[in-house]
Symmetry: D2
Subunit: 361 residues, 4 copies
């Protein structure tokens, strides 16, 4: 009931808070025989870590993932995989001075209303640190998807109002902002420099492309693939909107424009974003997430204290200017976990109920 688990066949449970010993996740239902070691987590954990770019807060977290169970002689055993990421940098003091005031745009107010305090019930569960456990789980999910050819890639298509106009897959990994358009990236960086000078912050849009997914993932009614993806992505704190394929643009199209004609070699277009009636159609799955600007800014803001008295708040310290790019591995992780779960449901259903062979574009 407390909502710290996600998934059905692959079920991840996360725990931990920034002020404690560390954070972690238990992954139940992972198939056996998968090669898994601490090293497998390094690159993804590093991508999520703050302090990588010129524009990010230079905190140094070395997120080393310890495998506490579920792996024997380098292979998963099918038993629950327990992953633990010790905290290196206890930050409880830094935020202490702010305790008395609700930070606008943060969850301080809602947690206080829900739990009656800042520190106790749920303390630290809304910290961005919680997402490290998701990224670790995503690495395991990726190990399920990889061998069957399902690849998930997230990248920045908009930041600070600047839209990527071209799409060059090769640009993405070279780009500090994971932007597929090198020209747009330059403008995005300028926008970040300007925001930094203004002590303000920026938001953006992340797109996720899933290739190699067979037709048939997703259940007919409530557990539609797009419904579960929407929940997965929206469960990330910074995300305020999710769309599939043409998404909100589909609302402005006519049926004749939005329908994807079917040809012997597949769908001619992909406005559906790879999902029809909640079930993958074998085409690329395309998801977009709206990422709000970081609420921590240096500009003075109106707020209230715990007694409801009006006050001003001006946040100092080193904050990220934009949740992008750090949120990108988190979004990828949640998409991977959702797909791995649905892929196993799909495989299980095929075993139990029959169905077509796997086909993908």
């Amino acid at each position: 009931m407390a909502g710290n688990s996600f998934g059905e066949i692959i079920r991840i449970t996360t725990y931990g808070e920034s002020h404690g010993k560390g954070i972690g996740t238990v992954i139940d239902g992972c198939p056996s025989g998968i090669i898994l070691s601490s090293e497998d987590f390094e690159s993804e954990m590093a991508r999520r870590r703050p302090g990588q770019g010129a524009f990010d807060t230079p905190r140094k977290e070395e997120d080393r993932v310890e495998i506490l169970s579920g792996v024997f002689e380098g292979l998963t055993t099918g038993a629950p995989i327990s992953l633990f990421i010790p905290n290196r940098d206890a930050r409880s003091k830094t935020y202490e001075v702010l305790k008395a005031l609700f930070r606008p745009g943060h969850a301080d107010y809602t947690y206080f209303m829900k739990y009656g305090h800042f520190d106790f019930h749920g303390a630290g569960r809304y910290s961005a640190r919680e997402t490290a456990a998701r990224v670790a789980a995503g690495v395991v999910a990726g190990k399920i998807l990889g061998p069957v050819g399902i690849r998930v890639m997230a990248y920045t298509i908009e930041l600070g109002g600047i839209r990527a106009e071209s799409f060059d897959m090769n640009e993405i990994n070279d780009s500090p902002l994971y932007c597929p358009d090198s020209k747009a990236e330059v403008l995005m960086e300028e926008a970040l420099i300007k925001a930094k000078a203004e002590e303000d912050s920026l938001g953006g849009i992340v797109e996720v492309k899933v290739t190699g997914c067979p037709a048939g993932l997703g259940e007919p009614v409530f557990d539609k693939l797009d419904a579960d993806l929407a929940k997965a992505v929206m469960s990330i704190g910074a995300v305020k909107g999710v769309e599939i394929g043409a998404g909100f643009d589909a609302a402005r199209l006519k049926g004749s424009e939005n329908n994807d004609p079917i040809t012997p070699s597949g769908f001619r277009t992909n406005r559906a974003g790879g999902i029809l009636g909640g079930i993958s159609n074998g085409d690329e799955i395309v998801i977009r997430a709206a990422v709000k600007p970081i609420p921590s800014i240096g500009i003075e803001q109106d707020t209230i204290d715990r007694e409801g008295r009006p006050s001003k708040i001006r946040m100092t310290g080193r904050f990220d200017l934009c949740a992008i790019p750090r949120v990108i591995p988190v979004i990828e992780a949640m998409v991977k976990v959702t797909l791995a779960d649905h892929y196993l449901r799909f495989r299980a259903a095929k075993a139990l109920y029959g169905g077509q062979d796997e086909r993908r574009r």
Copy 2:
């Protein structure tokens, strides 16, 4: 695993298909002492029914909800509520001729790929008729929310590319399209007339406003209120995008613009859409859903048959021009079910774990 249930404390399970005896839902976990009779469902079921407006398909379904259990002498007992809606109009024959061809934009192709046939596994579960059970469940959820002052209202803010520019609450219920802007509604109707002439279809955007919701609903990590709302709304077949508050626009705002300043009398703005950190903040909750154009159109389209051979399809018969307004009670129902579930989780958590008194704007 088959995904026909939704919710945790209030858990609805739906069943039924258009070709059978009827459809229904079992609602487990509804509190006792709620006045409930068949009549309570009439108006909502009528709103979902096709054939009401000039632009809708004139099929006549009289959706009468029978209460099979859970109510004694007019009051809910706390035992599972079973609701059944008999089918009056078996439509299996109408669609028979199309069986051999995959209709573009429909789930024919994905169901065939998943289950290996059209008719058997899951047959009819992707029919719009399935949503009647959701609407019935939403009526019960509304009976939980009503007495505590939580009201859910959905309306059309865009149709066929025409945007409502003004918001007059009173217009909504008088308007066949549930549009809060009477001038925009005229243009929307013209667009529908034009689409009808072209044998094409239209999409739009539905906005949902929740008033009276106390602060504190939602869980910190995966079961955030916005995450569950996103899943609920995205699980409706026609919906391709969901956003909360400023949503995708938040991606273009700066932190200083997007943060809602807090004052002793509440939040000065509501870009958050009533949800911060996944938990309701006591302000109005604002959700928007992108509704794709109806895929059934009279215009000839390219498709393939079951053997993968290219073909042309031209759908005849009487189809809706737009999922709006029929989808509106369905969206409302899913929001109500989600909120009722989270409201009961919130109340239960308060009993178990303590917390603040209910506060709402």
Copy 3:
């Protein structure tokens, strides 16, 4: 949270009460392609029905199961199967006079303490009528188990203190008490006649034998096969004890006596009752359930009324003398549902995780 569902891949949800329109169950997760019609339920429903033998209460319930969904042209479709059993014989009046007093051995007292009333919350959910929905679900579960050779048979090994000493499979179905020992059955019937004369009631022990179950069903930790069987059987109102294989007798054996030696042709003995470490070993599964005497008796008993004042109660009317044999199809049904669920979990796990081929004795 309200506990009206059972199972994981096959998930049954029951609803309904004796005072309403009927009772029913929704079965989610049943494979497609299974032949199913209303007639399939007749014999099992008849076995559970009161008024069959000389010793049973002669109420006449004709329990006809209506299939509301999930079956198309005689075959299950994989969509949820909704089964409804209308009430013919509303009995609310009969019990009305007793309302003011708590019947010893019944759940009147605990329901009153839990819900604050007899009639509302949960009313009728503790009626034996609720078990009709379980029997119906068991028929569907049996249709999953039958084709793979898993057979479940329950029979009476003790009644009123009389123990069956011999075991003749053929006797069971000819026997009104489903007793495998025709001599013991005569004594059991005499015991029932004596109890009837004394206006008292009797209990007994039901044994269940499962043949044809492959090795490998059950999960290692909490969802052990015996754990889930214990829950399933103990969830039947009349059952006060459950044991597997040697059961309580195993407590008196030495390791050398209780271990089943393994030979190339299988286990030499079966004290384990077919389950080792929570997982089926391919041998016969043997479960025993202790059935308490029916609490409704004509003998005067001490009780209290709702205000806690002492009183005498003497129940009149036509009551069963013993839950056996009516409880037998209910026990069988719960065992079948549990096995069908674990069989599908086993098959799904095999598909996802690999493992040995199916082997059974």
Copy 4:
């Protein structure tokens, strides 16, 4: 689906194996404000530990429980509690020689049949070490039950066929076998000495008494309190039978003997074992568990190897002679977890649905 979680509001997930870094549990849904430290686990972990008595195997495990999350400044926060117990004594080598042969009475055979190997999928999950995580979770559950006056105590009422004839609560904690009858204990110890000399092992019966439990815990249909207790206790490897109150003896009683007359001061007898219709009645809850003899014995036994060839096995090393007393804290822990979960469900239901005030004898 893999069955490593238990409970609904309090949900425990366990992980870990004897050959790895350690074992642990994540407890989701624990209320906030509970005082909790590593020291709280010491006494219970010590009771479960082997090597305490003259008759137990002298392995030395120092089971120190590390709190990885969910506690802040000594109090639970309501966030998931992660507990980790490092392994000190890796025992993989000890058992290596036996790998090729299936040990009778152990789960070797069923795990091999299910997973196709001994070491990988699920390896070590059927080790008794797994129960250490249960005991740790039981300590947290006990912290929920204690303040509301619910106490759980398990003790030995039979061992090696010797039955405790008297019941002196004070004897229990002084007794190495947790036996409430000091005379019987002497005989039990003699039986253990004899079994040791014979290189055999013994079983027994553990009784659990729950005092202070209010009326109203348990749900009407499948999640009856006794059903969930039966599952909880039967999920312990050594347990082959569970009964409530009179249990199997109830099968031999008449209704007039088995019904507990109700008086203004409570039930006159307690054959029901504190549970009526699946719901606690405020009286003491009495549960009995049949514990099988330890399968590891020095006596030569028949078995087969992986290729199915007949063989002899003679187990050497230091094994426990009887699962009692080590299984006692495990049984207590599972009862505590079940009761804590149902107590919170009860409290939540009261908040949501109303009901009577808490009453207990």
